[in-house]
């Protein structure tokens, strides 16, 4: 059905095909995080860098899993990697931290996971157990589809 309606469309993206037909200035990686298989973000980002394309990623997995490799590859190709949305997604925190060039940052502490904070706030305000708060938090589309990523600390841990 999909194919019939979209004779020129593909239900997948092949970066080699894409990059053989266009030369983008920036590759924007917005896939969801997967810390186990690393797919597809890490491969996508490395591929883009190999093509000499600048990268913007909101997916933190590539940086958590292979920060040095990603940055090294970018440096080798003379391109940029920007990742402001990977920490405190809706705020320009990383830029501020990067600008503190003469500072010796000794520690950070805080609330870095919007979903788990929303869950705790909902438990407090509405006096519901964790399960009820998770269900509520998923409604506005804040929580990860895989809630374990939010409450298990695996999202926060990459951030910290």
């Amino acid at each position: 059905m999909y194919q019939a309606l979209n004779p020129y469309g593909l239900d997948y993206i092949d970066l080699d095909i894409l990059y053989s037909s266009v030369t983008p200035d920036v590759h924007v990686e917005l896939t969801p995080s997967d810390y186990v298989s690393e797919a597809p973000a890490l491969q996508n980002v490395l591929r883009a860098l190999d093509y000499g394309v600048n990268v913007v990623t909101a997916n933190k997995a590539p940086l958590v899993l292979a920060y040095d490799e990603v940055m090294g590859r970018a440096k080798a190709r003379g391109v940029m990697v920007r990742f402001k949305a990977t920490v405190m997604g809706g705020s320009p925190f990383i830029d501020m931290l990067l600008s503190m060039r003469s500072h010796d940052v000794v520690g950070v502490e805080g609330i870095l996971n919007a979903t788990s904070n929303l869950i705790l706030t909902l438990m407090e305000d509405e006096m519901v157990e964790l399960e009820g708060a998770i269900a509520r938090a998923q409604a506005p589309g804040v929580a990860e589809a895989n809630v374990e990523l939010d409450i298990g600390g695996s999202m926060l841990q990459p951030n910290s």
């Binding site: 920036v26 990742f83 940052v105 609330i111 705790l120 910290s160």
Partner: protein, 119 residues
């Protein structure tokens, strides 16, 4: 871990202690509240010790972190110069889209050769 890389003092995954939120009961939240605390899921990184943790922590009600609610995020930064506090949305479709767009624009401006002061 990303923050630790940004400040140039990488913390390895095995240096991160994690306590899941899954074991938190409504009783814990309410008891904390009654005793003058707010239960928060706190991430900490100590770059000297190269250690980090993520765990539910009782924060005194007077502490600014206890007043960061819902989808808001907050980070306290400690440097040799001073202490800083940064508060803002941790997610949200429009907010996050702007952050991604800002990254794209900063590259575009640089590639285009029109680097603004501070850009």
């Amino acid at each position: 871990m990303i923050i630790s890389n940004v400040v140039g003092k990488p913390i390895r995954l095995d240096g991160v202690r994690r306590v899941s939120l899954a074991s938190v009961k409504l009783r814990d939240v309410m008891l904390a509240l009654k005793e003058g605390y707010t239960l928060k899921y706190i991430a900490r990184a100590d770059f000297k010790e190269r250690r980090a943790s993520v765990e539910p922590v009782r924060i005194p009600r007077a502490d600014i972190l206890s007043q960061v609610r819902g989808t808001m995020n907050a980070v306290k930064i400690r440097s040799d110069v001073g202490d800083y506090l940064f508060i803002g949305r941790g997610g949200g479709a429009v907010e996050t889209a702007h952050i991604v767009l800002d990254d794209i624009l900063s590259i575009a401006l640089e590639v285009g050769g029109c680097v603004r002061p501070g850009g």
